[in-house]
Symmetry: C2
Subunit: 249 residues, 2 copies
């Protein structure tokens, strides 16, 4: 075990921050770390928007479902899948790249590129003693987020990241059993093994919630997932993404 | 600057490895680091398949466009978007989650979750003195990859990652100017500033290729992108993904 792996394994989301802002040097270290991540075929199909305007932060907090820590943090980043840049590059070089750019393949590339960069940003921030929380809630209403950030066609704001000096202590959240996530040579389809793994994991997560809430929360992972996924959130997404002329072909 | 950020900034892809295999402890450290990454609403919508069977590695190397380092490395991981797990969880809990699982929103969640985990894996491997290379080439023919790895419906193998002891020295690849990737408060649309940034970046990348190839390769980033994106690769992806019953609604 080294210091890097220790930083990775110590990750927990932080949702309450001290008032102190990040300074320019910290922001640069985080963004440069993000940029150092791998990118498919050198395409770098993402952009990062730092939100410092408090009115915009308040609006995003409201859109994300009234998450206070979207407004109150040391810095707020929004990671976007960005294929607009390549459309403009195409124009500059007199090439119409739209058919390729509007494909599902390129949509996937942009999502993955943005996520790789974001995770490097998260690690860099945590290594500086800062806490982070990914904010998927900005996808609740991307039309409105698009208006706030003035993103053009071929750009999708994917998630936010609140960063700041932690003002709370939180516990490590237990992950799925490694044998369930990691398989060798082929996908594991043994149903009884799967059910056993879920049973064990439900016990682990129940215990986690019990301890954390002083016995108030009774919840299993499978129960939680059925509730969350069954909620059918953000079913407008396909239409929104296609309206931005992505994921169409 | 600390040791973690230094590791992030020193990233370069490695495409030639020594013959030495990773041991179980290294593989576990890498997978556990991957699992420690953030996941949206605790969904953990990905799986990792380690490929140790040499015949399968050879086949994947061929499918990825004859990339030798897919077959010859210390360990080969395939990162998959995985919503199959949740379908089974739904069955166990007598809930039909298919409408939600087959939405574009959940497809995005699974891609992002898989990429966050993968980037943690990459960082962990590099911190152990290993080299890595992401392999998008497995998306050349996902029908065939699916047969090799026996992935079920609602699972998409997204990319491979070759890991091993580096047997080459490679240079840091210059990234887009930070001012082009990182904006504040709103998306930057000034066309003349954009063209200036691209001009500068083209000079940087040209110089990189010139030095690296002893003057043999003349290339700019924008030229390279027009060629690569204009190539319209993997236009079958939308159909393939929908056939796995994802990204449909």
């Amino acid at each position: 075990m080294n210091q890097v792996i220790e930083t990775l394994l110590q990750h927990r989301s932080i949702r309450r921050f001290k008032e102190q802002r990040l300074d320019r040097e910290q922001i640069e270290a985080i963004v440069k770390s993000a940029q150092a991540a791998s990118t498919f075929s050198f395409i770098q199909a993402y952009s990062i928007i730092g939100v410092t305007d408090q009115k915009k932060k308040d609006k995003l907090a409201e859109l994300a479902g009234n998450q206070a820590y979207v407004a109150a943090n040391g810095h707020f980043f929004v990671f976007c899948a960005d294929l607009h840049r390549l459309m403009v590059v195409g124009e500059m070089e007199n090439a119409d790249l739209s058919e390729s750019i509007e494909s599902t393949e390129k949509f996937m590339v942009a999502l993955i590129d943005a996520a790789l960069a974001a995770q490097n940003a998260a690690i860099a921030a945590e290594s500086l003693g800062l806490g982070i929380c990914y904010i998927g809630g900005i996808r609740n209403d991307l039309e409105a987020v698009k208006d706030v950030l003035k993103t053009p066609e071929h750009v999708i704001p994917l998630f936010g990241m609140a960063v700041g000096y932690p003002d709370q202590e939180t516990d490590l959240k237990p992950r799925l059993p490694m044998a369930n996530i990691y398989m060798e040579n082929e996908y594991q389809k043994d149903r009884s093994l799967f059910e056993k793994q879920m049973h064990d994991y439900n016990e682990t997560t129940s215990e986690y919630y019990r301890v954390r809430t002083g016995g108030k929360r009774e919840d299993t992972w499978t129960g939680q997932m059925v509730k969350m996924v069954g909620g059918k959130s953000r079913m407008y997404m396909k239409e929104f993404v296609e309206k931005q002329n992505l994921n169409k072909k």
